[in-house]
């Protein structure tokens, strides 16, 4: 088990390095440079050129990537924070520490000051949504799959397809039209600040509802499919013929086996909920991770994009790891 984990950890590190290098290389081709973005559009070209040379931005790609890596692991000082540049970039953690993601030219603050609050907000959104999606989809999927072809099954399936087909920006606007403009029960945007008279909880209702509707339709269908397949297996027929009550057949035998396939699917939803919720965050002006990544990408804020990519990748690979371990727990036959 330990060697398995160690192997996966090494795999994670290699994936992170490869992906971060790719992101670095691709952002190269976006217009603008760090010096111009730092000084703003109306600084004179001379000042931009001066900053450009001081930051050694004309060095080859590999050198600059190595420099970024060294800042990240705390081996060298962040060049943007050099006080000789008079840019007034201050990080209260210092200029050299492990985990120094650098300075965000979009937000004019250390990346670590920006990114963790945003992840926190998205984690709240994702956590609540996830906490609702899982039981909702499991219950509907199981109810639908245990009697394939029944009226309940058909109803649940159709509802699931409808909700999954409606994109988030559409369902967001529909819900807002009904509950914000129509009834006035809920706030129209969710900036997560309580000054406007709407509680934080009220501000979370609509974004969570949009996510839950969109995602649980899909997961329900996965669970239903797996459940229906298991219910057709010979050992289930045996259990019923043995005389076990239907309820016990389902809870003791069917569910555990039906959960193996959907388990991965459910864990993959975590990846979606961390970085794929950008549309919901845009519609409701929610200060989350996805929206931050979108703004950073459009602006070309390389430090923020790199940091966000690394974090998103770590989450993705970790959920894979958890799902593999979960497999082993659910099905003793699987040993890695």
């Amino acid at each position: 088990m330990l060697s398995f984990l160690a192997k996966r950890l090494v795999g994670l590190l290699l994936t992170l390095m490869a992906a971060s290098f790719l992101v670095f290389a691709v952002t190269e081709f976006s217009p603008g440079n760090v010096a111009r973005k730092t000084l703003g559009p109306y600084a004179s070209q001379e000042q931009v050129d001066l900053l450009y040379s001081r930051l050694h931005l004309s060095d080859p790609l590999l050198v600059r990537y190595a420099r970024w890596m060294s800042v990240l692991v705390g081996a060298i000082d962040d060049p943007l924070q050099d006080s000789a540049l008079k840019l007034d970039f201050k990080d209260r953690r210092g200029t050299r520490y492990f985990g120094n993601f650098g300075y965000s030219t979009l937000f004019k603050a250390p990346v670590n000051d920006v990114i963790w609050t945003r992840i926190g907000h998205t984690a709240v959104l994702a956590g609540c949504a996830f906490g609702l999606i899982v039981p909702l989809s499991l219950i509907s999927g199981i109810l639908a799959g245990m009697r394939e072809g029944s009226r309940l099954d058909r109803t649940i399936s159709i509802l699931g397809i409808i909700f999954t087909s409606i994109p988030e920006f559409a369902s967001g606007v529909f819900l807002a039209a009904i509950f914000v403009v129509g009834f006035g029960w809920l706030p129209g945007t969710s900036p997560m600040d309580s000054g406007s008279g709407w509680s934080l909880a009220a501000q979370l209702v609509l974004p969570i509802t949009v996510l839950v509707l969109f995602d649980s339709g899909y997961v329900t269908r996965m669970v239903r499919g797996s459940m229906a397949e298991v219910m057709n297996k010979p050992f289930i027929r045996t259990a019923i013929l043995k005389g076990l009550p239907r309820r016990e057949v389902i809870t003791r035998h069917a569910i555990r086996n039906a959960m193996i396939a959907p388990f991965t699917v459910i864990l993959l939803q975590i990846n979606f909920l961390i970085s794929g919720v950008v549309v919901t965050e845009m519609v409701f002006a929610y200060p989350g991770f996805g929206r931050m990544l979108l703004e950073a990408s459009l602006f070309g804020d390389i430090q923020l994009i790199e940091a966000a990519t690394l974090i998103a990748l770590t989450v993705a690979v970790s959920t894979q790891l958890i799902s593999d371990i979960g497999y082993m727990v659910l099905n003793p036959q699987i040993r890695l």
Partner: protein
């Protein structure tokens, strides 16, 4: 000191108004620029035309409350280099004020100044600073503070756009002694004379100009020219000193900013306890949703795309004002095919401005005439109607060597949405003349990286009270914001002349020539003038829409 300089120009303006040669709008604007006090100017108009200014009955303003405004929160650290106009200066404006104030009727009032006098040759401006203004820390606001600010914005190392405004009359170019990479001497700018900004006493400053300039009081209201506290070294952040009615207490870039009322303000108000500016993001529907659920009481500016939805809300009031705000479709004259003035003129001839106003602005605007001077501006000179003529456009293109037209790419920022609508409408019209243009919509941030470099771009220009101001900022040779690279020495000469001419008849003649050059030779297609509008909750009192979306927090109040 103390003797009133009887300005012959004011007398001339008075007689021109009496003889009906100029209208009351032009009189008010120029008379106040010449230093006639606003009440006296309005009184004179009342005498002559019978249309006095009836001061609206001022109801007592309710006290207290926090006003929440939907806006965008940009970096505000360096007011002297601000580039957005309203988004950034609206926050700093509540804390750090300006020497003058140009209101929504385009009349310039003294603000931190008590009054100003100008010599008949328009070269010597004497600014009298108010004696009752104090910084929040109790220190008095004096001429030294003004001079520090003026010198700082004109310092090329700071990078302020005020340089472009004042370069004609306050600055000169000189060889800085360095060479650029081609071996040519690098030019820098400095004050044209050591005494260009002269301290007379603790509350009086004299500006000695190289050439006559009429719009000095309006230039002093340009949004980067905030009066900052010298001890703050040009940095604006929470806690920064100011003469204004508020203090900046919280700032989070991209999220929100909060200003709180202070005690001991020298001017009107403040009636509010605090103002919160909240960033609603790029999505225009988020702003609508926020207004609908009363999370904000108003929007700093609204887009035509939001008009219908906002109008439907029962608890809001519409405010609007005709402006000189526009988006020019500008060509880079150093690149083919735009280096040929016939091509540029053909692009103008192919456009029908009236149709574009209907399509892009839903009718909330007036047609432009491609010379970037609006009929709403007092120095506008009426030219013959520039009609759409596709056949003439095609002929010009053929003469220039493009008998079957040419292909091009137009770069447009995504934000605000009406820029995209205007561009698409223009592209459709250009097709008929054989000009095939591909529209590339890019995120705002990306566009502002490349706006000066793209061969053809759609650039927004916010309202300025005088036509000459924009012409000087955008089309004068070599100024920082000359995005088209337009360099026409005759244009520059006429511009200097217009800026220094007080006689309105003569000035209009000069403006007419400048406008003519723009229509014949200029680098832009400019089809519309936007009518700015916004919606505010009925509870908000004291608000009126400013052409540049400025917010004057000390005048606002909220009913509970």
């Amino acid at each position: 000191m103390g003797e009133k300089i009887r300005n012959p120009h004011i007398d001339s303006l008075k007689s021109q108004l009496a003889e009906g040669k100029i209208d009351r709008r032009e009189f008010l604007r120029f008379a106040t620029l010449m230093g006639l006090s606003v009440p006296a100017a309005y009184a004179f108009v009342g005498e002559v035309t019978g249309e006095g200014l009836v001061a609206p009955a001022r109801a007592a303003m309710p006290q207290g409350g926090t006003l929440r405004l939907g806006s965008r929160i940009k970096d505000i650290k360096n007011p002297h280099t601000y580039s957005w106009g309203a988004w950034d200066s609206n926050i700093s404006r509540q804390v750090c004020e300006y020497l003058t104030l140009t209101d929504e009727h385009n009349v310039t009032h003294p603000y931190l100044l008590e009054k100003w006098d100008v010599s008949p040759d328009l070269k010597t401006w004497t600014l009298h600073v108010r004696s009752d203004v104090k910084w929040r820390n109790g220190n008095p606001f004096t001429a030294d503070d003004v001079i520090w600010n003026l010198k700082r914005v004109l310092d090329p190392a700071v990078g302020s756009s005020v340089v472009g405004l004042m370069t004609g009359y306050m600055l000169e170019e000189y060889d800085a002694g360095q060479k650029d990479e081609k071996g040519n001497p690098k030019k820098s700018t400095r004050l044209w004379d050591a005494d260009a900004i002269e301290k007379v006493d603790d509350h009086t400053i004299r500006l000695n100009c190289k050439i006559p300039q009429i719009a000095v009081p309006e230039h002093l209201f340009h949004y980067p020219l905030a009066m900052l506290y010298p001890g703050d070294n040009g940095v604006f952040q929470p806690g920064a000193q100011g003469t204004g009615a508020f203090e900046l207490t919280d700032f989070e870039l991209g999220k929100r900013a909060v200003v709180k009322a202070r005690k001991g303000y020298w001017g009107e108000g403040p009636y509010l306890d605090a103002i919160e500016f909240i960033d609603m993001g790029d999505d225009p529907s988020a702003a609508i949703a926020a207004m609908a659920s009363k999370q904000v009481h108003g929007l700093v500016s609204a887009d035509p795309i939001q008009f219908d939805a906002l109008k439907a809300l029962p608890f809001v009031v519409l405010y609007q004002v005709a402006t000189a705000e526009t988006a020019v479709l500008r060509a880079k004259v150093t690149q083919k095919p735009y280096d040929d003035p016939r091509v540029r003129k053909a692009m103008r001839l192919a456009i029908d401005p009236e149709a574009i106003v209907q399509v892009a602005l839903r009718g909330l605007g007036i047609p432009g005439e491609h010379h970037h001077v609006s009929v709403a501006q007092p120095d506008y000179a009426k030219l013959a109607h520039f009609k759409r003529d596709v056949a003439a456009a095609k002929k010009l293109l053929a003469d220039a060597g493009y008998p079957s037209g040419f292909d091009a790419e137009l770069f447009v920022p995504k934000d605000p949405p009406w820029n995209g609508a205007e561009s698409q409408a223009a592209v459709e019209q250009w097709k008929e003349a054989g000009i095939r243009v591909k529209v590339s919509i890019m995120p705002g941030q990306e566009y502002w990286d490349v706006w000066m470099k793209v061969p053809l771009g759609c650039t927004i220009w916010y309202h300025r009270p005088l036509g000459v101001m924009v012409l000087g900022l955008a089309y004068r040779t070599g100024v920082p914001w000359n995005e088209s690279g337009y360099a026409n020495p005759e244009f520059d000469k006429l511009l200097n002349e217009a800026e220094g001419t007080i006689d309105l008849e003569k000035r209009k003649a000069v403006m007419a020539k400048l406008e003519q050059i723009m229509q014949e030779d200029g680098p832009v297609v400019q089809p519309l003038w936007r009518t700015n509008f916004s919606f505010y909750d009925k509870k908000v009192k004291g608000f009126s829409m400013h052409p540049t979306n400025y917010i004057f927090g000390n005048k606002l109040a909220m009913e509970s």
